[in-house]
Symmetry: C2
């Protein structure tokens, strides 16, 4: 694994336009007050694409349109608007999402089904189509529009979120990059997570689908801000093949290098979403080791990082292991309570079924940092899993209790 | 059902000593600063008893001792202490729990296995046994000690929680009563729910066990304050038969009257716990109708009432149906999004897949009450289910972020 990671080069200023043949842009059309609100990604050529969607019963209209476009596994462009989610909007909402797709296709002279559509924002409102039209015909994707795109997809996120890695596949340089947004909710119902990944890799479509699904399981699916699943969550991954590498699939000798780069991009974006959670002051990482399976390790990690009591304790910089135990206690994983070892940062706080003597002050000091880590050894097997979240603060309540105006 | 409920008489001032042959008491021995901290329930004769316990992997020592006592389905007394949970306390904790049982049995001249033991409070600390001993030998159960007992089991609950109903079974008057506590957490880790039910009914032991389990499923198991399950949760039900009614089981013609009374007691106690949740300003009731099964109805109801976003919206008195939809969206129940009807109090806010025109002001006014109700019709079947919770407030964060001192 370390060998694999050494073959990756992190591209610090990289964005979704860093991979060859991708352009992007973002404009302000008036859906949001002053910030960019419509973004477009465009590939020079059709890209092998895969997506995963929210599991909500109330899947928003644009996700259905995107599924229609992705039926053949290829798209060339993505249009995203922020401020209005186009969710729970009935037939009119579906018509509007199809209309967005049609307008973007028309402007760029590509087939309608080459366009994916994505929206994020308030649930229940119809899109103001005059403004959306301005967006569809108003974004000119360029070689340096990655940051504009990353801005246009935000709602109340404080920062744009990009990640980019480069590697060699055979003799060819391949780049993977991504942009994402998390949940902000000054307007209510903006709980939406979107992720867009671009790569110039030449990759087998089925392998690309499998890689996306398995990577999302240990990255985006392992973050929680408040345990809510939105109507608009989507991660979309496009591979346009312009790096001209020998086609990648699981049997390729460099597969693990590419899969690691993809995983790094997804995990970085996921962590950025967790750190920028509503009202958050800290990124919390929970790593569970020695579980019977990766699924169980991830479940325990997510239980801990999602616990309101753990989150408030971390906000209070309190090394309160009883709450970690409490959260682990109602996981479905199998382990022996007496075998667990729980650490907060470098400090072991629980083992052999009871608390350990530790300095409350040192642990509190450790928890005063911006990034904190809890480690749990279940001593039940050999699998590991990680989850990311944030603390629960007054500001979370404040942001979400404010009346919509 | 209405006919059945009419046969019940609510005993307003009733406590766990109202059923014949039950005495109780509570004293202050110094586990808490000034409040009562050790309570005892005593039946004049051994009582057919049943209990349900926390599903946590980290089940506290007293629960294991109680299971030992209940192996033959009969107990005569219960001893409870607050302030220290005797959870995650290893072998010493087990010894201490057995010691409590032995002391109480010795003082009252009953067999050790006739005593159930229960603790609530901080996880990880050992019981100060000198104080506990004072409690075991210091409580004299009396005919009017119900309120003292109800006080002694509290941690940071604001109010004692009792409920009592009376009915006729054949020619005999039968009474069912209960006391409970919920979660308070000025000291951390006090997330504990305890319920004690007494009745003078003569009831078949197996029927009593079945009734407890099925009733807990739709009462205590349907409340959530913060989604946490404690190490010490327990509901214990004692029936001493002193009403001398013809033995009750499911085939008895008055079974439904008794089962209704038992259900009313459990639901009232559960609602009182929800209303007294940490930092809560409102009791929230969510009723889900027309589900495919009661399990699915309950699951959807619990998803809604447990959602941090719904809870903050209710705190903010905001009729924000998007969050209700969001919470329903990730339930496992099967239903069609377009078929759901969502109401806040008397106001329909969502139907046919989209929002309904309603007065934000009227809904906000409705939500300003101390008790609010959300109703959801899934139109997928005929089953119903209810869940109870509370709003999420600044005080919840404040209480739980404070450092332990």
């Amino acid at each position: 694994m370390i060998d694999t990671l050494e073959k990756l080069e992190k591209v610090k200023e990289g964005t979704i336009v860093t991979p060859k043949g991708f352009k992007a842009g973002g404009v302000h059309v008036g859906l949001r007050k002053t910030r960019k609100d419509v973004g477009v990604i465009m590939s020079d050529v059709p890209a092998v694409s895969a997506a995963v969607y929210t599991q909500s019963h109330f899947q928003a209209a644009p996700l259905k349109v995107t599924q229609d476009s992705l039926a053949d596994g290829m798209i060339q462009a993505v249009i995203v608007n922020s401020a209005v989610a186009n969710a729970c909007t009935g037939e009119q909402g579906m018509k509007n999402a199809f209309q967005m797709r049609q307008w973007l296709a028309e402007y760029h002279g590509i087939p309608e089904t080459a366009v994916a559509v994505s929206s994020t924002g308030v649930i229940g409102d119809q899109l103001p189509m005059d403004l959306v039209k301005k967006g569809c015909f108003g974004v000119t994707p360029t070689d340096d529009g990655g940051e504009d795109f990353a801005s246009a997809i935000l709602t109340t996120d404080k920062e744009t979120k990009s990640s980019c890695y480069r590697m060699k596949i055979g003799e060819k340089v391949v780049t993977v990059a991504g942009a994402s947004k998390g949940s902000g909710m000054i307007h209510p119902n903006m709980a939406t997570m979107l992720g867009f990944i671009t790569t110039d890799a030449n990759i087998d479509p089925d392998a690309w689908n499998r890689l996306l699904k398995s990577t999302v399981d240990h990255s985006f699916n392992q973050i929680t801000v408040d345990g809510e699943t939105s109507t608009n969550d989507m991660v979309l991954a496009m591979a346009n093949g312009m790096a001209e590498n020998e086609m990648l699939d699981e049997s390729h000798e460099d597969w693990h290098v590419f899969a690691s780069a993809f995983s790094e991009v997804c995990c970085e974006l996921a962590k950025k979403i967790a750190a920028d959670g509503e009202g958050a002051t800290k990124l919390v990482e929970v790593q569970v080791n020695q579980a019977r399976s990766e699924e169980e390790a991830r479940e325990v990690a997510k239980k801990i990082v999602g616990s309101s009591l753990v989150k408030t304790a971390i906000y209070g910089e309190d090394g309160n292991w009883g709450r970690i135990i409490g959260a682990m206690g109602h996981s479905k994983a199998e382990f022996e309570a007496d075998q667990c070892i729980v650490s907060v940062g470098p400090y072991t706080v629980f083992e052999k079924g009871g608390g350990v003597d530790f300095s409350e002050e040192e642990v509190s000091d450790y928890l005063s940092q911006n990034e904190v880590r809890i480690t749990v050894d279940l001593q039940a097997g050999t699998a590991s899993g990680t989850a990311w979240g944030c603390d629960l603060t007054y500001d979370y309540v404040k942001i979400n209790a404010s009346y919509r105006t």
